[in-house]
Structures are given as structure tokens and as C-alpha cells.
């Protein structure tokens, strides 16, 4: 009897620390976000709220969602547009450009050394600590000291097309936002795709080559169809993380005066998640900011459920597997 109780308790003992940490860092903030989204929590009643989560100084209301959905906050519409632009363009770099890149590196490049150099190069953006990556971009686009304008001039881009500031002029700043995140995304896609390409049985490719297929035909008819799952995986995974990622945007555009929150807005790079962050930590409207986050949480949960349906449990865990 004692033994069987022990047997049942043992897994719990091993799991308890993890469950505790998950409760602290995941479950309670998730629940709290839902609650906060329906409150008018701000700097005024914050201290009272921290003392007692059910204080009557904080009222429960649907105002936040009215402001979002009935466009009472004039800025929501533009934020939404920027977010769609951001997610769609970076996602296409992630999924499609990275695919071309990986085929070029892992299949077209026959020279091992060159292939390795290219792979390491394209890895760098993802493994470099974010702030250094941001610092290098800030230097690179600097009109006076940086090289971007110089390079574009060399490539024959007329002077009148080049902005005096990549950070502030609008279409340019948005292009910059896409480039900065695009390089990191291409990095991610490349890691998954090159692993998958390497695991394709060489017989398949060789057979096609013997039959007279060109390299391009091999890429189109054999490699890409086999990468169906990795492509879906990268798209799914990146959609979710792009919706909520604003770290690089904050680092680059936030690096101005007065905490820099103003720059992101006028530069047209204020994405939804950064907007929520700004509302919370620059304007101290915690309730409204949580409502904005809550919409992302809902989208995130819906997507995760969808992914479980599409991929099944196993496939979600083995992104680089190729099914021959």
C-alpha cells in the first residue's frame, strides 16, 4: 500500500519544481492578463491594486475593448496596418526567401568551404545578442558614418532616392524594419531548411540527375516538394512569434530621447505588440495595454490549437524531418 502511494507520488515530486515555475511565469500572468484586460488599471489605482487584486478602486469594464473595436482610439487602425505589413513581409522573407537561400547554400554550392562560410554568415544575425545586432544596424544606416547609402550609391541608386534618415523617413523606416527582422528570420528559416535538405536521401537527387534533370529541376521537382513540412513549420512558428515580437524595433527606434516612444510612432513602425508595451510602460495605462495584449493572446492560442490540428503532436517537434 505504502509502495503504491509512493509510486504515485514520485512523478509528482519530480515534476513539482517545474509546475511551480510554470505557475509563476506562465499560468498566473496569463490569467492576470485576462483579468487586467477588463479593468481600468492605470498609474492612479496601481498601488491599491497591487495590495489587493479585488480592490474597489479598480472597476471592471468593457471600455478597453470598445476603444479598440469601435476605433475610439484613433491610432488602432494605423497600428493594425503596420502590423499586417510587418508580419506579411517578414514572413515571406522567412518562408520563401530563406528557402531559396537554403537551396543555394546547401544544394547549389558544391564547394564545402564556401557553403560553410555562407552558412555561418547567415547564422550570425540570429545568434548575435539583440542589442549588438541593433547597434550594428544603427551604425550601418547612419547617413554620415554608415555604409548603407554609400553602397546603394555604388549600385547606381540616384542620390535623390536616398533618405537623409533611414530611421525617420516613412517608407524607408518601414523598409528598414522589414530588413532588420528579415535577416534574423532568414537565419531561422535557413537553419531549419538546410537541416532538412541535408537529410534528403542522395539517391533521389542522383537518380534525377542521371535522368538528365538540371539543378533547377531538381530543386523544383524534388527538394521543394520534400520540404513541405519544414516550410509549413517555419511559417506557422514565425507567424506566432512575429505577431508578438517587437524587441528589435524597440531597440532601434526606441533608442532616442525621452525613452524614444515617440520615434516609433512617427516613423510608422509601431506594431501592435509594441503599442501595447508603450501603453503600459510609457503611458501607464495597464488595463488598456492588457486588453491590447489579450487580443494577441487570443490569436496566439487559436493558432496553437490550429497547429496541433495540422501538424499533430509529433511533427510539431521535429521540424526538419523530411518525409520520403
Amino acid at each position: 500500500m505504502a509502495r503504491s502511494i509512493g509510486r504515485r507520488l514520485l512523478p509528482l515530486l519530480f515534476l513539482a519544481p517545474m509546475l511551480l515555475m510554470i505557475a509563476l511565469a506562465w499560468v498566473s500572468p496569463l490569467v492576470l492578463t485576462v483579468y487586467l484586460g477588463f479593468t481600468d488599471l492605470s498609474i492612479k489605482n496601481f498601488l491599491a491594486f497591487v495590495k489587493d487584486f479585488f480592490t474597489d478602486k479598480v472597476s471592471i469594464t468593457l471600455d478597453n475593448f470598445r476603444r479598440i473595436f469601435y476605433a475610439e482610439d484613433p491610432y488602432v487602425g494605423e497600428t493594425l496596418r503596420v502590423t499586417v505589413l510587418y508580419v506579411v513581409s517578414v514572413l515571406s522573407i522567412n518562408a520563401i526567401y530563406a528557402l531559396a537561400l537554403s537551396i543555394a547554400i546547401a544544394y547549389f554550392t558544391k564547394n564545402e568551404l564556401l557553403s560553410m562560410i555562407l552558412r555561418v554568415t547567415w547564422l550570425l544575425p540570429r545568434i548575435t545578442p539583440g542589442i549588438i545586432y541593433a547597434l550594428m544596424w544603427i551604425w550601418f544606416i547612419d547617413p554620415k558614418y554608415g555604409l548603407l547609402n554609400e553602397m546603394l550609391r555604388l549600385m547606381g541608386v540616384p542620390d535623390s532616392w536616398l533618405p537623409d534618415s533611414w530611421l525617420l523617413r516613412k517608407p524607408y523606416s518601414q523598409m528598414l524594419m522589414i530588413m532588420i527582422n528579415g535577416y534574423v528570420g532568414a537565419s531561422f528559416g535557413m537553419i531549419v531548411y538546410t537541416a532538412a535538405i541535408k537529410s534528403i536521401p542522395p539517391d533521389l537527387v542522383n537518380a534525377a540527375l542521371v535522368d538528365g534533370a538540371s539543378e533547377f529541376q531538381v530543386a523544383r521537382r524534388i527538394i521543394i516538394p520534400l520540404l513541405k513540412w519544414p516550410i509549413l513549420f517555419v511559417t506557422a512558428w514565425q507567424t506566432l512569434s512575429l505577431l508578438s515580437s517587437y524587441e528589435y524595433i524597440l531597440m532601434v527606434w526606441g533608442a532616442g530621447s525621452g525613452q524614444g516612444y515617440g520615434i516609433a510612432r512617427s516613423a510608422g513602425v509601431m506594431v501592435w505588440s509594441l503599442y501595447s508595451y508603450t501603453k503600459a510602460f510609457a503611458e501607464h495605462l495597464y488595463g488598456y495595454a492588457s486588453a491590447l495584449s489579450l487580443i494577441l493572446v487570443a490569436i496566439g492560442l487559436a493558432l496553437i490549437i490550429l497547429y496541433f490540428k495540422i501538424f499533430g503532436f509529433r511533427r510539431l517537434m521535429e521540424p526538419s524531418r523530411v518525409e520520403v
Binding site: 547567415w122 495597464y286 495595454a289 496541433f308
Partner: protein
């Protein structure tokens, strides 16, 4: 006739090869030029006295590295000494790594080896958490930090951040280390159990030594993610003396008028040293982890 078709075929093959090379150049090499320039600049600028156009160093000097032995000044503003800040960063990274390894090596073992109700459900839950972007929770975590009385408390705020960061990393770490446990044959455990070992003893003295590579991978990974953590410290730490390196670099970039590219480059390089070392030592394992929770 036959000759001509052979020549034709040769030209065709040559053209095809040229097209392949063109694709490689266009897709993989030319877009990589900015990357090479940026990293080249970072290194040469940190040893150069002048602000240089391009990536060639000029006027070699160690002056940019003076932050290692003297206080940092940019314009009017004086920054805290680099070493306490480095210690803060190190504390954060080591704290996260230690906590993550302790917790996930227990839970990973339970998920890999023990049979209990809700095991599959728990694994799905962990995967779902791993896929869920944690930055969304920043606001609620701020409230929790306040509730725990850890906000604005100097060093204790850093302790709170260690707890939160470790908690956020644990689902993924558990999954990775479970993969390492899965790879160990059952026989070893059975043998030990038959000989009268308790489950706990088996875990500690038979299995744990065998998953040392896994533990190494997870600790390096969580060390690096603690080392590069930016948002939590940036958002939750108000006092300058408890900044970590990335947050200090961020604030120094913010001083646009007095920007000192040389020192920033040197500081950036100094900060990147652990990342560079760990990556060159163990890139294969780390890569797999970076992709997102693949078995080790």
C-alpha cells in the same frame, strides 16, 4: 553532326552552371555583404582611433577599451563602472542557467521515464507553452513582480527577473532534456533497480551522469539566453547600478549627440565574448536547440 550536338550540349551545360552560380551570387552572397560589413566594422572600429568610413581600421589604439579600467563618460553623462554591471549580467545568466538545469533535469526525467496519469497532456501543454510567445505577458508579469514586492528593490529585482526568466525557459529546457533521457537505454536503469536502487538513487547516480551532454547543452543555452536578456531588465529595473550590459549599451546608444562609436563597438564586442566562445565550442547542439526544441 554528332560533334556539333556535343558542343551544343557542352554550351548548354555551361550555361546552366552559370545560371546556378548567378543564383548563388544573387541570393546568398550579395545580400550577405551587409552582414560581413557590420561585423567587420564592429571589430575594426573597436580598435581604431578615428571614426572610419568603411571597415578598414585606421590609427590602431586600445583607447576604446578604456572602459575596462576607468569610468565611462559620454558627453556630460557618466555611466556606472563596467565591472559591477558585468557582474549583474553574469548573476542573471548563471542564476537562470542554474535554476533551469535543476528544475528541468528533474521534470525531463519524469516525463521520459515515469508513467502517470496525464503524461501526454502535460507534454502537449509544455509544447504549447514553448510555442506561445512569452513577451505578451510582460505587463502581467510586471504586476506580479510588484505583488511579490520585488519591484524597485535593487538586487532583489534582479532575483525576481531570474525567477521569471527561468520560468519562461523551463518548458523548452524540459523538452530538450527529455530528448536526452529518451536516448538512454532502459536496461541500465533496470539493472540498477533490480540491484535494489531507489528511483531517486537511479536518477542521481546512474542516469544523470549519462545525460551530462544534455545538461551541458541546456545550461549553455539558458546561460546565453540570460546573458542576452534585454526586455525584462530594461522594463523592470529602474536603478542604473542594477542594469545589465545590454541595457547599459542601449542607453548609451540613446545618447545620439555624444555617440562614441569606437567605445560602443568595443563594449559590444566585450559583451559578445561569451556568446562567441560558447557558439564556437558547441554550435552543433545549440543550433538544433535554436530551431526550437528539437531533440538533442
Amino acid at each position: 553532326m554528332a560533334r556539333e550536338s556535343l558542343r551544343k550540349r557542352k554550351t548548354k551545360a555551361l550555361l546552366r552552371r552559370a545560371a546556378v552560380v548567378a543564383v548563388i551570387l544573387l541570393v546568398a552572397v550579395i545580400p550577405a555583404i551587409p552582414i560581413w560589413m557590420m561585423y567587420g566594422w564592429l571589430v575594426s572600429q573597436s580598435f581604431s582611433g578615428r571614426v572610419i568610413l568603411g571597415i578598414l581600421p585606421s590609427k590602431l589604439t586600445l583607447d576604446n577599451w578604456r572602459f575596462l579600467w576607468s569610468p565611462i563618460k559620454m558627453g556630460e553623462k557618466e555611466y556606472p563602472n563596467i565591472w559591477p554591471i558585468t557582474m549583474n549580467t553574469l548573476f542573471l545568466a548563471l542564476g537562470v542557467a542554474g535554476l533551469v538545469v535543476m528544475v528541468s533535469s528533474l521534470s525531463g526525467y519524469a516525463l521520459s521515464r515515469m508513467d502517470f496519469k496525464g503524461r501526454t497532456g502535460m507534454m502537449q501543454f509544455i509544447i504549447a507553452l514553448h510555442a506561445f510567445p512569452s513577451v505578451i505577458l510582460l505587463i502581467a508579469l510586471f504586476v506580479i513582480l510588484n505583488k511579490l514586492g520585488l519591484y524597485g528593490k535593487g538586487f532583489m529585482t534582479l532575483v525576481g527577473i531570474v525567477l521569471i526568466k527561468a520560468g519562461l525557459e523551463i518548458p523548452m529546457a524540459t523538452w530538450i532534456i527529455k530528448g536526452f533521457f529518451d536516448a538512454i537505454p532502459w536496461d541500465l536503469e533496470w539493472a540498477a533497480l533490480v540491484d535494489g536502487c531507489s528511483r531517486w538513487r537511479v536518477w542521481r547516480s546512474v542516469i544523470l551522469p549519462l545525460v551530462l551532454p544534455g545538461i551541458g547543452a541546456v545550461s549553455i543555452f539558458s546561460f546565453l539566453s540570460g546573458w542576452s536578456e534585454f526586455l525584462l531588465v530594461f522594463t523592470y529595473v529602474a536603478q542604473e547600478e542594477y542594469y545589465t550590459l545590454p541595457v547599459m549599451i542601449y542607453h548609451m546608444i540613446g545618447e545620439f549627440i555624444h555617440i562614441d562609436w569606437g567605445m560602443l563597438a568595443a563594449l559590444g564586442l566585450f559583451y559578445a565574448i561569451p556568446t562567441i566562445i560558447f557558439f564556437s565550442v558547441s554550435q552543433k547542439v545549440l543550433l538544433r536547440i535554436y530551431v526550437g526544441g528539437v531533440k538533442g
